[in-house]
Structure formats: C-alpha cells, structure tokens
C-alpha cells in the first residue's frame, strides 16, 4: 500500500474503501457528507423536484386560462386577494381531481371506489409499459424505433382476428391470441429490422412510413366482412370471444386485467434478455459499438433484425393489452397514441426495463388523472401532455433542476443521457 505516498496519513486507515490496484487518480468519496444533504442532492430527489416543477408549469397554465382567475385579474390591483384565491382554488381543484382519479379517491364511500383510480392507472400503464419496452429495447441496440404505433396496431389486429374469428378451447384461445399479437407486432417491427440489416434502410424512415401503412391497412381490413361486425358496416369488429380476453383481476367493477401481469413479466423478461442473456449481450454490444461487436464475431445485421422483431413483439403485446384487455373490439383507434407515448416513456425510463416500468406507471397515472381532471373540472386533458413533457425535460437535465433549486451535485457533470449515441447519429 505504499503506492500512494502523497496521501495524508489519516487516509491510510480508510484503506478498505480504496480498492487495490487503483492508481493515484482514484477519487475518494467526500467524507462525512450528511445523509440529508446526500438525499437532497441525489438523483431521486432531482426526479421528485422535476415532477414538482412540471406541476407548477401546469398550474400556471391552469390558472392562466381559468375564467375565475381572469375575471378577478381585471381588478388585481384593487383587491389582489380575490385573484390569488381564485388561482388557489382553480389549481388545487385541478390537482386534487388529478390525484383522486389516479391514485386514491379520498372522498369515496367504499374501499373499491377508493382504489378504483389506482387500478385505472395500472390499466392505462399496461400498454404504455409494454410498448415502452419495445422502444427501449430497440434503443439499446442503437435503433430509434418510432414504429411502436404501427406495431401495436398490427399486434391488436392479429390478436383480434384470433379472438373473434377462431373458436378455440378455454385457455388455449387466450394463449393463441396473445401469441398472434406478438407475431403481428414482430412482423411489423421485423420489416424495419430486415430492411435495416439487409439494405441499410434508415429505420427512422421505415418505421414512420410503416405507422401510416398500418393505420390504412387496419381501416381496409375493418371494411372487409372478415373483420367487420356482423350486421353493421361501421369500421368496428365483433368483440373478441370471452375466453380470448384477458380475465379481469378484480372482477367486473374494475378494468384492470391480467395483461398487467403480462407487462410485469415482460419487464422481467426484457431485463433478463438485456442484462443476463447472451442475445442481450450481443444486442447491447451492437448498440454501443457496432464495429467492435462485429470484430468480436457478433452478427450485427442479425442483432438489428432480432431487436426489431422483439421490440415489435413487445409492442404487439401492448396491442393485445388493448384488444384483449380494455377495448375488446377492433377499431381504427385501437392503438390510441400509445405508440408515440411509448417513445417518451422509454426515454424517461432511460431505455432500461425497470425505468420504463416506472415511467409507464407515472404516465399511466397522469393519463388516468387527466381524464378525471377533465371530467370533473373541465380542464382540457392536453395539460397532461404539457406536464409530461416538462417532467421529461427536467429529469433529463438535472443541472437545470439543481440550478433552479440551488442544490449541489452528487455526480460528475456531463454524464450523457441514456440513449446510445449511435441512435442520435442515426437520425
């Protein structure tokens, strides 16, 4: 241990924290940092502050457009309390509604009513998490998958077709429908992966175009007798068979279905795939440095294809959550905007499965809360989009949040955000 002659002797007692073989450059942890300070400066704290800041921005918008506020603003200088009061009322009303419709309805009469909002959050989070995993996985392989939307549509279409067209035994029907959904999404993602691997076609272009094609393909299918509901010529399919649908977890009073558990399983699977499997190792290697991966014997094209197949399959599962879970019949809007929200979810989750799960839950809560807020207070749900975006921006830029709240750093700066550079370079 004589390698560090320039250290003050006091530090030598602390030698256990210094791993062996560390050259003199090793940074020592600052000693005696108070716990509270460390919490305040931690990344978790930054995330919390980012959410608070974003809600503040939302509050400004809410107040700015509230009639009570604007009418009291006209005489602000003669009696400011009216306006401040109005601001308080409008903002608190909105956010209480948001909370009560996404977490716990504190004014509910029964327990089931009280937790209903939470189950809604989980329900909406389900497709978000699944599609988010698809985007995140592709990101880790250096591919910017804008195509989750189309992949969800195809997944839902395949699963739906099995669900309302086939007649299979209990148990098997659901499994076949889910597998069909995975296949549908994988097929759509796979096209982009194949063209990337074989023709070098830019996945951003291809996935954008495939999104549109998926939309029109679905509309076409919904105008054919195979898909159209019997006796109707609306672009709407029959509902899927009862045994092809995900069972409801808490019975018919709640919408939460077993698709949520599928999403949790998919998180675990994706985590294992990326972090513990040989395939994941290959895919991450390709994402981080395709040249080095190739030199190490990894088939780069195969990794691209595989990644898009799996990413599409995950988005296809999100499609099954829609068609076999909440919606039950196929229509043009089956994918809502989950495919696009999934991009933000994946980015907020730093392209990491666990992160994506939490980001999906957060967005699910905002979405569920937003619907309730709109229904109860009339504030347009678009405010949720604004709040979501600010959350992502603030979380992605910790120095900004730190400088707003004037707190110190606990990590060296210029740590690059999660998405691999190869992705940025690609676009």
């Amino acid at each position: 241990m004589s390698t560090t002659p320039d250290l003050p002797p006091a530090e030598h007692t602390d030698i256990l924290v210094t791993p062996p073989l560390v050259p003199e450059l090793h940074r020592h942890p600052e000693p005696g940092e108070p716990l509270l300070k460390r919490i305040i400066n931690s990344n978790g704290m930054v995330s919390v502050l980012a959410i608070l800041l974003s809600l503040l921005v939302g509050a400004i918008l809410i107040a700015f457009t509230d009639e009570r506020v604007t009418s009291t603003a006209s005489y602000f200088f003669s009696r400011p309390s009216d306006m401040l009061n109005a601001v308080w009322i409008s903002v608190s009303e909105a956010y209480i509604a948001l909370f009560q419709s996404s977490i716990i309805n504190t004014s509910a009469e029964s327990i089931s009513d009280a937790i209903y909002p939470l189950t809604e959050t989980l329900t909406i989070a389900t497709p978000l998490v699944l599609a988010g995993l698809g985007v995140a996985l592709a990101f880790r392989v250096g591919l910017f998958n804008i195509g989750a939307q189309g992949q969800i549509i195809l997944g839902a279409t395949f699963a739906g077709w099995v669900g309302f067209n086939l007649d299979l035994p209990v148990g098997i029907h659901l499994v076949v429908a889910v597998v069909a959904g995975i296949v549908g999404g994988a097929l759509w993602g796979g096209i982009a992966g194949f063209l990337k691997a074989r023709r070098g076609a830019h996945e951003v272009i291809v996935t954008i175009m495939l999104n549109y094609i998926a939309v029109y393909l679905l509309l076409y299918l919904l105008s054919t007798p195979t898909f159209q509901r019997e006796g109707s010529n609306n672009p709407l399919s029959d509902p899927v068979a009862e045994f092809a649908a995900y069972p409801l977890i808490f019975g018919p009073a709640f919408r939460l279905h077993y698709g949520f558990l599928v999403a949790l399983a998919a998180v675990a699977f994706t985590w294992w795939l990326l972090n513990r499997s040989t395939t994941g190792f290959e895919m991450r290697a390709v994402g981080a440095n395709p040249v080095a991966a190739k030199t190490a014997g990894i088939n780069v094209g195969r990794a691209y294809l595989l990644a898009m197949l799996i990413a599409g399959g995950l988005a296809g599962l999100a499609g099954t959550a829609q068609i076999l879970g909440t919606e039950r019949s196929l229509s043009g809007g089956i994918a809502a905007s989950f495919g696009f929200d999934a991009i933000t979810v994946a980015l907020l989750g730093r392209s990491n499965p666990i992160g994506t799960l939490f980001a999906g839950l957060l967005f699910g809560a905002l979405r569920a809360g937003g619907v309730g807020m709109q229904a109860n207070t009339g504030i347009p749900i678009d405010i949720v989009l604004v709040v979501q975006s600010f959350i992502v921006l603030f979380i992605a830029a910790p120095p900004l949040v730190r400088s707003i709240f004037r707190i110190g750093t606990s990590k060296p700066k210029n740590k690059k955000a999660a998405a691999p550079a190869a992705t940025g370079g690609a676009a």
């Binding site: 073989l21 440095n289 040249v291």
Partner: protein, 514 residues
C-alpha cells in the same frame, strides 16, 4: 518571438494533469517535451493553444501576459499546432480544411478557395510536400494528412509550431523528411515544440529538451545524453529498452496464406496475391506504412472483409468464407489496431469487455443465460494478472486510459488456447513499462507454440519482436526478411523497394553517410 509558460496548472476534476509547469520556448529552436504516457504533455500544449483553460498560471509572449479564450486567439498570436490526433474534417478537401476558420471570402461570405489553393501549392512546393489541394482528406494516406496539418499551421504564419507526436504514424523516411522540414522552419526563425516518444528523433533534432513526469517538470535534458538516460528521466526508474528472447523453436507451418487478394468495393486491389506462412512457435511481423494493406490483411484473416479471394488455411482448414465467430472459435486470437473502435466497447464494463467474444461459451454462459459471477471472477483474475489499472471490474472501459484498454484486449485474447495469435499495433499508446510486459506475453505465447502475426508501424517494435519480417507496400508483399534485418533496409522496402534493391541502395547510402 519568445513564448513563456509560467506556473501552468491544469486540473481535471481533482486530478492534476499539469502542476505548476514553467517552460520557455525561444524562436529559432526546436524544443522537445519528453515524458511517459499521461505525463501531461498534450494537456500542456492544449492549454498553450487555448483549447483548455489553465486552472492556474500565465502565458507570456515576448514577456507580455496574454490570455487565450480559444484556439482562435492562439492562432492570432502566431501559435500553430499539429495535434496528436489529426484535426481534419475527413469529408472535406485539403483546401477546405486549410481554409477552415481562416477563409478568404468575397461579398456575403461567398467562399473563395482559389487563394487557399495557391498558398497550398506554394508551401507544398517549397517543402516538397506534394499535396493536391483538391484531394479529399479521407482518401489520403496518414503521412499526407500529417503534411496537411503542417500546411494548416504554416498558412496562418505560425511563429510557434507545436508538433504533438507527429512521427507516430510515419515511415522512417517520412520521419527524416519531417525532421528536415523542422530544421528548415527552425532556420527561418520559427520556434518548434516537438513531442515524441522516440528518443532517437528527439536526440537528433532538439536544441532543448524538457522532461515532464506526472504533470511536473523534472528537469532539462541534454540532447547528447544517451537514450537510456533519457528514458530513466522520463519514467523515474531504469528501463530495459531491449527484450531478451530465445531463438524460436519452429514447429509445423500450421498457418498458410496463398494468393490472398482483397478488393475494396470500388474495385481497387487492397491486397494483391499475398502468400506466406507462419510456423508454430514463430513470430512473423508485418512492417509497412499504414494504408498499404496491413489492416486488410488482418481483417481478411478474421473474416471481416468482403471481396476476398485466395486461401487462408489454419491447421489445414480453410478460413475464407467462414464467419467471424467461426474463425474466433477455431482458435484465432485478434488484437485489432484501433482498440477504442474495434477492440473494446467503451460503455461496457471491464468485466464484459474481457469476455467480449467469449460471452456465449462456458463457463461464462449456460445456454442463453450468462453468469455474471463467473465473469466477475475472471475479470478480477485478469486485472491482477495483466496489471490493468482500473477502479474495478465494473468500471466502464471508456474510463480507462488507452494503455489500460490495450491491456484489457490483450488479456482477453491471450487467455484462451490459441492456434493463431494476431496483434495489430499491440503496444500503441502504451507506456514503456507496460510495453516490456506485453512484449514478454507475446513472446511467451510464441514459445508455447502458437504462430504469431504482428502488424506494427513501430519499426522498433517490429525489430524487437520478429523472427521474420514481411514488408507490405501498396498491397503487395515486397519481401520477407530475417528478424535482424537493418532498419534502413526495412525503411527502403517500406517505400516499395524489393529487398535486393534495398540492400544495394542502403549499401551505397551507408557509404555516403559514412
């Protein structure tokens, strides 16, 4: 013009790269900086050139303090720099690169490259550079790129020219030419700051030598001092500059290349009917200036090139047409020339990089499931064995210094049973102490009976390691000569002369010199 650095300190975080450095550079002198890897030479020059902001200290020109807010200010003050890693835009032409930042432009900023072209031709003629102003940089050999960098500095009328390791990629001949150019510049009154690890060059050209160790000036050295004295000053201990290896015990010739040709997708021949073999227990080193087919040679053996014809046989089995993975699995170890792009993945941990091409085999994986604990154990072992300086097996490889990244790659490739070992630039950017170690490992691999193929632009290294030396020139094998062939003959061969021509030519030149 007199340039003085006074008390320059540069810290990165809590690491001090330059510690109160004082240096004075006089016009009409070549001032060399010596120091081991990571001593802080480049950092000091970057501070001087305004790329880094000094934490403390002053820069004085003709005794007046100046402040550089960026390279622009430094250039305006008459300082030019040729960087260790070229600062050229690969897709631009020579003229565009030279003009950049200093463009002649007409009304509304419309570019006028004519004047720049004329200046390039003028300088090119004066120093015999032979640079075409309209050539695209990425098509040019490194030696020419080097000259473009010098032209960039000269066009801006640099009074102080900083050359940071300019000779690392040049042939001996090109190096001699560069030294001549430096002499011309010095004689016309330019101050030249020269950084090189090659003590021979430093001794040949310097008027003054400053030695830096761990960020501090440890003293001045006399250009007349011996190489080992200089090395000791640099490293702070005595270094053995030569490797003692036994005579090779040749076995069967298990590796054989016949009529190997490689084409670029443009149809250009990168390798032209190359044939040679390597026996078990033998080191064949390929010498040659970069860009003459060495890279393609190693990459085509590894299955990394398209358009390959001929035959590459290892233990009687044909390698051409097999995938990279199959080739690796048949027992070929490969150290690519550019470790940071080809050899390691910067965002992967050291442990992961140590199994980068073994991750899917026992004991690191069973089926699709990887075993992180085994990977970690392997990493701890290799880190100790190869003395990799890292914060631990979980550190990202990108945070390692270049030399340590190199050790990671070497450790990975040398730690499984091999039938062939290929190493490109095995010690590029590695400091003297580690070179000793890595060379010993390579020789040990040879002595265990593996055929070894070394590619190196470092002639010292080639001579040091090789049992036989093959020279490539423009994709053709110029000849294969014994390991103890004199350096000047090798130099001539690297310029395209066959070994007979080279021997006769060097004979006459040797006489002239004598």
């Amino acid at each position: 013009m007199k340039l003085e650095l006074r008390g320059i300190t540069k810290r990165f975080g809590n690491f001090t790269a330059n510690d109160h450095i004082d240096v004075i550079v006089e016009s009409g002198q070549v001032h060399s900086l010596l120091g081991e890897n990571g001593a802080g030479k480049s950092t000091l020059m970057n501070v001087l050139f305004g790329l880094y902001e000094a934490t403390e200290g002053q820069i004085l020109i003709d005794d007046k303090p100046v402040k550089f807010n960026g390279p622009g200010d430094a250039m305006a003050a008459g300082i030019g720099m040729v960087h260790q890693h070229f600062m050229l835009v690969p897709v631009f032409t020579v003229a565009e690169n030279v003009a950049l930042g200093n463009e002649d432009a007409g009304a509304a900023g419309i570019l006028d490259l004519e004047k720049t072209r004329a200046r390039i031709r003028e300088i090119s003629d004066r120093y015999g550079f032979g640079v075409d102003p309209d050539a695209i940089i990425e098509d040019l050999p490194v030696g020419v790129q080097q000259r473009v960098e010098i032209i960039k500095a000269l066009v801006r009328n640099a009074k102080v020219l900083i050359l940071d390791e300019p000779t690392a990629v040049l042939t001996p001949q090109e190096t001699d030419e560069l030294l001549n150019i430096m002499r011309q510049l010095r004689d016309s009154g330019t101050a030249v700051v020269f950084i090189s690890h090659k003590l021979r060059e430093v001794k040949a050209i310097s008027d003054t030598i400053t030695v830096i160790r761990r960020g501090k000036v440890v003293g001045k050295a006399d250009p007349a001092a011996s190489a080992s004295e200089l090395a000791a000053l640099m490293v702070g201990r005595s270094v053995s500059l030569s490797l003692n290896k036994d005579k090779p015990k040749l076995g069967e010739e298990t590796f054989k290349i016949t009529d190997l040709s490689v084409l670029a997708s443009s149809g250009q021949l990168l390798l032209d009917s190359v044939s040679f073999g390597i026996s078990e227990g033998e080191i064949l080193a390929v010498a040659g200036v970069q860009g003459n087919g060495q890279t393609e040679l190693t990459e085509s053996i590894m299955g990394l090139m398209d358009h390959v014809s001929g035959s590459i046989k290892l233990g009687g089995k044909e390698l051409i047409g097999r995938t990279v993975k199959q080739i690796i699995n048949s027992g070929v170890g490969f150290v690519p020339e550019d470790r940071s792009t080809d050899g390691v993945i910067g965002t992967f941990t050291v442990a992961e990089n140590l199994v980068l091409n073994q991750y899917d085999k026992a004991p690191y994986a069973r089926g699709m499931n990887m075993k992180p604990a085994v990977m970690l154990k392997n990493a701890l072992k290799k880190i100790t064995e190869f003395d990799v300086r890292t914060q631990g097996p979980d550190a990202e490889a990108g945070t390692l210094s270049g030399g340590n990244q190199q050790k990671v790659v070497m450790a990975r490739e040398l730690s499984r049973p091999l039938k062939l070992f290929i190493a490109s630039q095995p010690t590029r950017g590695v400091d003297v102490g580690s070179i000793e170690f890595l060379h010993r490992r390579i020789v040990a691999e040879r002595d265990s009976g593996t055929p070894v193929l070394i590619v190196s632009t470092e002639l010292d290294e080639v001579v040091e390691l090789a049992d036989r030396i093959a020279v490539l020139y423009k994709g053709k094998l110029v000849g294969i000569v014994p390991g103890d062939t004199p350096r000047d003959i090798l130099g001539l061969m690297m310029a395209g002369a066959s070994n007979e021509e080279a021997e006769s030519q060097s004979g006459t030149e040797g006489k002239e010199r004598a």
